[in-house]
């Protein structure tokens, strides 16, 4: 039994099939990447896993249990955390309070939640911004706050949706370093990303999709050289 598995998951919005019969497995402790051009259905996959959208068809298993029938808030409870591509900070709360809101999932005690938040703040390097309201943070820090907040819920599987998009090279290097550190603590990661450099560097396995369908899956180099992937990104002339 694999750690996390999607079996033929399908999502239709009316007549549009956003994700079609996608199958993949993720091994514990690994970083699994999902790439694909704009609108290929990457975020829809996340929204299906985190139960923001109901599945049209298919099954999702986490640690041997079927999870595609659970209510959305239970997903985090069983150990799957997520971040949003369009960041959703709790705007008028400070960085610490944002992270505490996540930490409260595992404790009812304010002191403990605060302590946990401090640990996460140190881990993510947000010390300087502890008492700043989330709405006054710049984008790179908001993205980092998203990760920090999800980490506070003690996830075993973390879904990262375009954490490096919109960051300059230096910032995205810092983000990659953080993702590696998270992986080293034993958290399994599924990451969606556009930036090939990021994906090549950190993923153990990559799934490439286009129009909601799998076009390639395997080691990063294999996927990058796959003719279908090149065609999807660069057009027929380069395939």
């Amino acid at each position: 039994m694999s750690f996390f598995e999607c079996k033929k998951i399908t999502k239709k919005f009316g007549g549009l099939t956003a994700v079609s019969e996608l199958c993949f497995e993720v091994e514990k402790g690994k970083i699994f990447g999902i790439i694909g051009p704009n609108g290929s259905g990457k975020t829809t996959v996340f929204n299906m896993v985190s139960r923001f959208f109901p599945l049209t068809d298919g099954e999702i298993y986490f640690k041997g249990k079927r999870i595609d029938q659970l209510p959305a808030h239970k997903i985090c409870d069983i150990g799957i955390g997520r971040t949003f591509q369009v960041v959703k900070p709790l705007r008028r709360l400070t960085v610490r309070e944002n992270i505490m809101a996540g930490a409260f999932l595992r404790t009812g005690n304010i002191g403990q939640a605060r302590h946990k938040a401090e640990e996460i703040i140190d881990f993510c390097g947000l010390q300087k911004f502890t008492n700043i309201e989330a709405k006054s943070l710049p984008i790179p820090l908001r993205k980092r706050l998203e990760i920090a907040r999800a980490l506070a819920t003690d996830p075993e599987l973390l879904l990262l949706d375009e954490t490096c998009a919109g960051l300059n090279p230096k910032e995205s290097e810092a983000a990659i370093a953080l993702i590696r550190r998270i992986r080293d603590t034993g958290v399994t990661i599924i990451i969606i990303e556009h930036i090939m450099k990021v994906m090549m560097g950190i993923s153990d396995k990559i799934l490439a999709i286009n129009f909601g369908k799998e076009i390639a899956m395997g080691k990063p180099q294999e996927v990058a050289n796959h003719p279908e992937v090149i065609k999807a990104y660069l057009g027929d002339a380069y395939a």
Partner: protein, 317 residues
């Protein structure tokens, strides 16, 4: 609670307890009691509308249910309406349960509109089931207590209880969750927060204490009819103005707002006659433009303004 806040709270309690020693005229006492009633409703509304961000335009429903619980006890069974102080809040909380389950499927303005409709539904139903509620003729009770001072202390006790319970809720895990839901419901869900459950955990105490205010109102004013206690503008909308003026999502905001609002209301009514509501329209615009977070919410900004003015004056000299 910080030391300064604790001192402020003690000072406030002392002042509130000692006021009747200095102010004895029935009219002034009446105004103070009204302020307290509105402070209770405002504080309750604030828990749901301010902290959890679920703006209700229908709190008259809970106020009216509380008021009628007390009134009907006397009307039908001849039981002292003071028992309504127990039954009223419980009835309002019970009524809030199905309302929460249904209305919390809606978000933002849709929720506000559903609640607005709800308040009106209650008013119309209570007007029309005359066999139970005596319809538009209303319910008149004979008050057993005539001393305003006793009413004042009972109301003050109810406000104290409301503030204490609200404070405890807001400063617990529930409070953090409510604020998270207000700031971003999807993010809250992704953090494992069962949003509908927690919205209900804000609605139930909110309805409970609004019902308490309603039951007290029946005892104090001794006459209720559906057009008074289920009134859209004079209850549901007014409570929103009270909280906006005082400070949304602050502990003391609704109380401060109620004080200013009721006092201003009296001044305008005696000076402007029926044009007094116009002033409130202007007031709302002024609040939104200059103190969008209310008086308590913008306290630091207001302080700065005062100190800056002082500084510029001394600089000029």
């Amino acid at each position: 609670m910080t030391k300064r806040n604790l001192l402020m709270t003690i000072a406030f309690i002392l002042v509130a307890v000692l006021i009747p020693v200095f102010i004895k005229a029935p009219y002034q006492m009446h105004i103070l009691i009204l302020v307290i009633i509105w402070a209770i409703i405002g504080t309750s509304w604030n828990l749901l509308g301010g902290y959890a961000g679920q703006v209700s335009f229908g709190h008259a429903a809970f106020f009216g249910v509380g008021a009628y619980a007390a009134g009907l006890l006397t009307f039908h069974y001849g039981i002292s309406p003071w028992w309504g102080m127990l039954l009223g809040p419980v009835a309002a909380a019970v009524v809030s349960l199905p309302i929460g389950v249904i209305c919390f499927r809606l978000r933002g303005p849709y929720f506000a509109l559903a609640m607005l409709a709800l308040g009106e539904i209650f008013r119309i139903v209570f007007l029309n089931i005359e066999a139970v509620t005596n319809g538009a003729k209303g319910i008149l009770i004979m008050p057993e207590i005539t001393s305003k001072m006793i009413y004042y202390y009972i109301a003050l006790g109810a406000l104290g209880l409301t503030l204490a319970v609200t404070y405890l809720i807001v400063n617990s895990k529930i409070g953090y969750y409510l604020v998270s839901i207000r700031e971003d419901q999807d993010a809250a869900t992704s953090l494992g927060i069962p949003t509908t459950l927690y919205k209900n955990l804000a609605l139930i105490p909110s309805a409970f204490f609004t019902g308490l205010a309603g039951a007290f109102y029946t005892n104090y004013v001794a006459f209720i009819d559906p057009n008074i206690v289920f009134n859209l503008t004079n209850v549901s909308v007014m409570v929103i103005l009270v909280v906006m003026l005082g400070g949304v999502a602050t502990t003391w905001g609704p109380t401060v707002g109620a004080g200013i609002y009721i006092l201003l209301g009296e001044v305008f009514r005696t000076t402007l006659g029926s044009a007094n509501v116009l002033i409130f329209g202007v007031l709302v615009c002024v609040i939104i433009l200059f103190v969008p977070n209310g008086i308590v919410g913008e306290l630091s900004m207001l302080k700065q303004l005062v100190s800056r003015r002082k500084a510029s004056v001394s600089g000029g000299i």
